[in-house]
Amino acid sequence: MEYLLHILILIGIYVILSVSINLIVGYTGLLSIAHAAFYGVGAYVAALMALSLHSPFLVNTACAVVLSGVLGALVGIPSLRIRDDYFVIATFAFQIITFSVLNNWVSLTGGPMGLPGIPQPTIFGLQVSSHVGFLLLVGVFCALTLWVTHRIVRSPFGRVLKAIREDEVFAQAAGKNVAAYKVLVFVIGAGVAAVAGVMYAYYISFIDPTSFTVMESIFIISIVIIGGAGSLWGPVVGAVVLVVLPELLRFIGLPNAVAANLRQMIYGGLLVAFMMWRPRGFLGEYAFQGKEARG
């Protein structure tokens, strides 16, 4: 039972991550490979505050979201004004830098040793300690993320995002400040990713930099591509599939070393298969490919 709850909690965390990056990648058509970095920033901010300041959960969450959003603005404002290619490179650089900082600033982050012993969160006097409690907590934040995304994509604001994805020149000629929209969406995505990081840190109660590598960013993007970019529920489907699939491998009874490698191969195979035969993913309305290719 606990195992099942654990899987559901993981799915919840990946839903928050993939739904938020879908705003950037799926709705606005910008490729960011820094999502795991914002996820990590959220986790470390919450963990450090909980460990050293003993500040309450909601305060830590708010600080994590704000700091991650500010970092998002610092990466996005200079790079999004130029061209999308530079933005991809800037996010990649930010991902690498963030990992290096987490891995090397030993006095603050503990370096490769990570941060153990993150206390259980207390919300309005209730301590969340059981798996059920965490599942509820993650569920609430999942629902909140989906609601925020739903409001955004159904609004005229979301309509402009889709226009930017399909044809920036049209959007500009229609009087939309394209660069500002891109920065805003990137900042929102960064902020929400931090929420997932906070959840992860409190739930596992131990974090180290290996959870927030560029591979993790690519995994999150895979969820969106397989689930369906540019649809509200696509990333949810993708998160379920990509979290559950490797767990099923455990039951086949392969030795751990083989299973880990097999998992990587399955991700790769799935991605290639989807790109070739179903570029829109399970539920997507946006074929994930280069702008030039779409003409």
Partner: protein
């Protein structure tokens, strides 16, 4: 003599040493339809791109809207200053519905601010509903109402040209820059689009029309500018320009 809504003063633009615009000046008066003709590569579309802020002009030239200097402003700002344009290569959001394309063209929508996706729901909803009614009315007048919910890519080429014009109308701009609005479409649709353009001055709008179809220009425009190699060769009524020896010479060349 009516007021000038758009002034273009001494604009120049070179690309790698090729002068696309050479000290070009012209003015658009309130309620005029100004035809811009000339051979391919004369700099007509470059002029539109400079006036709408997609290309920065070389030093020295100026663009004025109702007397105020707007040279070098970002394209989205110019679009909010009363300029709307169509593109030669037909820019529409092909994957979104016909209605969405028109809705996107309305300027200054409260719902397009992030905050309003969450707050001020009522005001935002009312404005969105009003825009939808207005968009539907525009599509009905253009005869595209049946297609309102189809993706724009399902429209025929002529209907797509018509839709880009409807988008310009939704912008409620004073100045419309139309880049080959009737090139390559069936005669019936051509008549329909030209009729809409001829009707624009009565709504207080002013138009610059780039068109290779000289018949269309003669029927529609009050004045015509002939340009070649980035410079103005001739200007006047359609009759005057057609009979200008310099124009005849340029066409023969």
């Amino acid at each position: 003599m009516s007021d000038t809504v758009l002034n273009v003063n001494n604009l120049s633009k070179s690309f790698d040493g090729i002068r696309a615009l050479a000290d070009f000046s012209c003015e658009l008066r309130q309620g005029d339809v100004l035809g811009l003709i000339g051979p391919n590569g004369a700099g007509k579309t470059t002029l539109f791109n400079v006036v709408t802020g997609f290309i920065a002009p070389d030093e020295g030239g100026k663009v004025l809207i109702e007397g105020s200097d707007v040279t070098g402003l970002a394209s989205y700002k110019l679009a909010n200053r009363g300029i709307a344009r169509t593109f030669q290569d037909l820019r529409l959001i092909r994957q979104l519905s016909v209605l969405d394309n028109v809705l996107l063209s309305f300027r200054d929508q409260p719902g397009e601010r992030l905050w309003n996706a969450f707050f001020q729901w009522r005001k935002t909803r009312q404005r969105e509903a009003a825009n939808r009614r207005e968009a539907t009315r525009l599509l009905e007048e253009a005869g595209l109402a049946e297609k309102a919910n189809d993706p724009a890519e399902n429209l025929s080429y002529g209907q797509q040209k018509l839709l880009s014009l409807v988008c310009c109308l939704a912008a409620k701009a004073e100045v419309l820059l139309l880049d080959e609005p009737v090139a390559g479409i069936a005669p019936e649709m051509r008549e329909k689009i030209l009729a809409i353009i001829r009707d624009l001055p009565a709504q207080g709008k002013s138009v610059i029309l780039i068109e290779h179809d000289l018949d269309a220009v003669m029927q529609t425009c009050d004045r015509v500018v002939f340009m070649d190699a980035g410079a103005k060769i001739s200007e006047g009524t359609p009759e005057e320009v057609r009979n200008d020896p310099k124009v005849i010479e340029a066409y023969i060349n």
